[in-house]
Amino acid sequence: MVKYTIKKILISVLSLILIIFILFMLMELMPGSPFNDEKLSEEQKQVLYEAYGLDKPVIYRFGVYMINMLHGDFGDSYSISVNTPVASLISTRLPVSMQVGGAAMLIGSIAGLALGFLAAFNRGKAMDVICMIISILGVSVPSYIFAILLNYYVGFRWKALPLLYDFRIPVRTSIMPVIALSIGVMGVVMKFTRDEATMVLKSDYVLFARSQGISEKEILFGYVLRNSMIPVITVMAMLLVSLLTGSLVTERIFSIPGIGALLTTAITANDYNVVIALSFVYAVIYVAARLVLDLVYGLIDPRIRVSGGAGK
């Protein structure tokens, strides 16, 4: 387990360094220099370069850049909110996105697990077919389609819920975005749970348990639930990514002041510092989640840490 943990942590660190390197190279390769004014003499340029540390070798600047990034110092915003540190822009918006995303993840997973089991226990019956249709819709249809539909019908036509996000009534106004984001999560979790639970139900040990006269309820909670939940954990990292992606559009549709909306605005406004900082934040969230899931998975299923990684 120790070897497995160390290996996984090393890979995560390596990918973070790689990401920072890519971001740094992008900044380096961006055309133009801040001091290419022709009126400046060579000496003046020299002084400016020294003041900003641009005369140092690339490797040194990369080191400084990396340390800054890890400290959360991403520079200032150029155009969205001029001269505000990017870190403070992000820190006020991150909790909003986390709340909406977290709620969607939680609700989607629970609903997906429940419906997945329902389908597995009623395999071939009408219930199964209904669950499968819901799951196919959830897997195939992008979350922003649901967001648009909810926004238009529930918010605009029926006026049942507020059309846009309002930070004074965060719960009521997050209902629609959370539903829109959770349908995709639900679809994927449902599909995996159904497949896994079906396989567990067919297995010899469940047959044996049944032959011993163990009640269906005990079989469900003691055997099927536990054993079919393990593979579901692996899709969580994937789901997190789709949530992050989905949040970009959903936040735009409901004008939620989260990091997804910030990224969209920053991209359109060419605010490089914000885009790069947010890319870094997204990468950290993803790498950290993958690491945690890999470790949890290795803890639950000893076979994984021997073979060296969660199922691809």
């Binding site: 995560s12 922003y144 648009i148 970009l248 559009v249 885009v275």
Partner: protein, 336 residues
């Protein structure tokens, strides 16, 4: 001819060939049925997959034929006829209810502008362009992007995975670690950054999708090669003096191709999703170009007043995504 004597004293004449045609039967269920045929039979039995295939085929044909045959140019602007509501003879009469601050008003632009020479099946957009042909043209562009990105990822990922799996040992270890590290960078980040560097356009989207798509392919290819490379027929080929290149591409590749095709099919809805998503966020195709993502994005801007600009491209996208996913799932089950 000398009669050959057997040990027990029998001669060859004592034996006759038993011909019992009546007792023999060909096992019709399994005899000589290739894997492809089995897969086809299984696929046909799968109702959801067949539904997906039929829908997908219709959509693909429509996306090729309709923009060419509709008789309305895709980019022809006609500002006088902006936001003309859909008119389908016999079903929709081309009037729409537009909400005003003081209530609602029914508007029929066909009567107001006396348009009688043509009917806009899906209506027109802000610039008076026909949405019917634009929607299908957009679907064609989205499909092309997805197909191109999928094919390129397939070629790169297939070669990478096959080489990694076939050589094995240290090479495989290093190649897999590279994929491991690269795949831990979220696609969203890669795509966002790429779009900052490249000019927005079809080729940048293809590159962006491809850069992350090849890894999935390589993982599948590697796993498949691992399964096959110790089989007897590979050993036989090697004994007969076949080189590595020959074994990899003539002996292994044909046998793993089906799982690669399935993976290609899986990658297509993902790519379509990414294209529409990027265009919606403003990173994808530039304003003025035509793809499902752009149409949905433009429709969304106008949807509160003219919902018909949003609904058709959205329905097409949903149908496309569902049918492509169903086909992919069906292929997976059929080849299992």
């Amino acid at each position: 001819m000398a009669i050959e004597k057997y040990e027990d004293g029998f001669t060859a004449e004592d034996f006759e060939v038993a011909v019992r045609t009546d007792d023999m039967e060909i096992d019709t269920t399994f005899s000589g049925e290739g894997r492809l045929k089995t897969a086809l039979r299984r696929y046909k039995r799968n109702k959801a997959a067949m539904f997906g295939l039929i829908t997908l085929t219709i959509l693909v044909i429509a996306s090729i034929l309709i923009p060419a045959l509709s008789g309305k140019a895709i980019d022809a602007q006609n500002p006088d006829r902006s936001f003309v509501a859909p008119k389908i003879p016999g079903i929709l009469n081309g009037s729409e209810r537009i909400p005003y601050t003081t209530g609602e008003r029914t508007v029929n632009k066909y009567e107001e502008l006396s348009i009688d020479e043509t009917a806009y099946l899906f209506g027109t957009d802000q610039l008076g362009r026909d949405l019917f042909s634009r929607c299908f043209k957009g679907m064609q562009v989205s499909l092309l992007i997805a197909l191109a990105a999928g094919m390129i990822s397939l070629v790169i990922g297939m070669n990478y995975g096959m080489i990694s799996g076939y050589i094995g040992g240290k090479t495989d270890l290093i190649m897999q670690q590279i994929v491991d590290v690269l795949s831990s960078i979220p696609t969203l980040v890669v795509v966002t950054l790429l779009m900052l560097v490249f000019k927005p356009g079809i080729s940048s989207i293809i590159i962006a999708i491809m850069l992350t798509g090849w890894m999935e392919m390589s993982i599948i290819a590697r796993a498949q090669v691992f399964k096959l490379k110790d089989r007897e027929y590979i050993l036989a080929a090697r004994t007969l003096g076949a080189g590595d290149f020959f074994i990899l591409f003539r002996e292994i590749l044909p046998n793993i191709f089906e799982s690669l095709v399935t993976e290609l099919m899986v990658s297509i809805p993902t790519a379509i999703f990414f294209e529409t998503f990027l265009s919606f966020v403003g990173l994808g195709l530039p304003v003025g170009s035509c793809s499902l993502g752009r149409l949905i994005s433009e429709g969304f801007d106008n949807c509160l007043i003219h919902p018909y600009t949003l609904i058709p491209p959205m329905i097409l996208l949903v149908l496309l995504m569902i049918s492509a996913n169903l086909v992919a799932e069906g292929l997976k089950d059929a080849f299992e």
